[in-house]
């Protein structure tokens, strides 16, 4: 999936990989994601378990950061209430681009068990911030969260950094018209 996979026979190829700068950058980015240390509800307990001994989240090259300004991605682990929603939006806006969001658990995806009578629950965090990966479950197993992380890595691997700039510029131009 990554850059090193192209090196299927390193001895014959002499250890040379041909690729673009983008590939290298993406490879670096996707394997050293830092996340915002932040838990909301029950899913956060599974999230803690994932950080601990048996599942060892840090082998993905991940380090928890206490401030959004140093974080690459945020994991919304739990129920987002209306009182909390505005804070989450602020947190998201404080993060520096490029930034990603993983929505963990049914609550963050769609309101979960509280979808019907929860007058104070936001039915899905995607109503306020963009979400890149959804992890279903109530609570999702730690393995599922890791799968979500791998999905995010894949997504970052395939991102086009330079072309994105270009595309954004084009969009801007379109808007101005």
């Amino acid at each position: 999936m990554g850059l090193l996979d192209r090196l299927d026979n390193p001895y014959e190829a002499g250890g040379i990989i041909l690729g673009t700068i983008e590939d290298v950058l993406n490879w670096g980015r996707s394997r050293s994601d830092w996340y915002l240390h932040f838990g909301l509800a029950c899913c956060a307990i599974e999230f803690m378990a994932m950080n601990a001994s048996h599942f060892d989240f840090m082998r993905f090259g991940i380090i928890p950061r206490a401030t959004p300004r140093q974080a690459d991605f945020i994991m919304i682990t739990g129920t987002v209430t209306l009182k909390m929603a505005e804070r989450i939006k602020v947190l998201w806006e404080q993060m520096a681009e490029p930034k990603y969001c993983i929505s963990v658990g049914s609550c963050a995806n769609c309101g979960g068990p509280y979808w019907q009578y929860g007058y104070h629950v936001l039915k899905g965090v995607d109503r306020i911030i963009p979400v890149h990966v959804y992890v279903p479950g109530c609570p999702p197993r730690p393995e599922a969260m890791e799968e979500g992380m791998m999905k995010l890595q894949k997504l970052i691997d395939q991102q086009a950094i330079f072309r994105k700039r270009q595309r954004l510029a084009e969009e801007e131009a379109l808007k101005e018209k």
């Binding site: 209306l82 009182k83 929603a85 505005e86 769609c110 309101g111 979808w115 019907q116 007058y119 104070h120 936001l122 039915k123 109503r127 306020i128």
Partner: protein
């Protein structure tokens, strides 16, 4: 001390403010009292060494279509007996004296009852919402509550 004994003693002291003792198993027996004397009765329950109620377990408010009822579960750590008091107030003017100065644990319970059911506790030092945002409208645990369409621009129903 059994609840009948407590009831009789309170009745002797406070007369008509202590209304009835209702026993109907399997429910717990409770004493219905008038809201105006609530503070004095609670003070008596705490300070009289015969009762010695020092532990307020819970305050719950309940919406019965015309009335709001506030239920006090009180326990005594030393004497190991408990008593349940009930105060009923009309829904239009739900004012109950605050007992926060007697048991400090009542502080948050009363704020919660105010927040979710709109019972006003007279004499509470800081009666503001506790769970819901400060600018929330309505009291959601009332039976006729309708959830709002939007809150700060966010859609509330699914």
């Amino acid at each position: 001390m059994e609840i009948t004994e407590i009831y009789n003693k309170l009745k002797d002291k406070f007369g008509d403010s202590v209304k009835d003792l209702i026993i109907s198993p399997p429910s717990d027996a409770f004493i219905a009292i008038a809201s105006d004397k609530l503070f004095d009765i609670c003070l008596e329950l705490r300070d009289n060494p015969e009762f010695d109620f020092d532990y307020l377990m819970c305050i719950s408010a309940v919406d019965f279509s015309e009335n709001l009822e506030v239920v006090y579960h009180i326990y005594s750590m030393n004497k190991k007996h408990k008593v349940i008091l009930k105060v009923s107030v009309p829904k239009e003017n739900p004012v109950v004296p605050s007992i926060e100065r007697i048991w400090r644990s009542a502080d948050w319970h009363e704020r919660e009852a105010y927040d979710l059911l709109g019972v006003v506790f007279e004499g509470h030092h800081n009666l503001i919402r506790i769970l819901l945002p400060y600018d929330w409208e309505g009291h959601p645990l009332r039976k006729d509550y309708k959830e709002p369409e939007t809150y700060h621009g966010m859609k509330v129903p699914y």
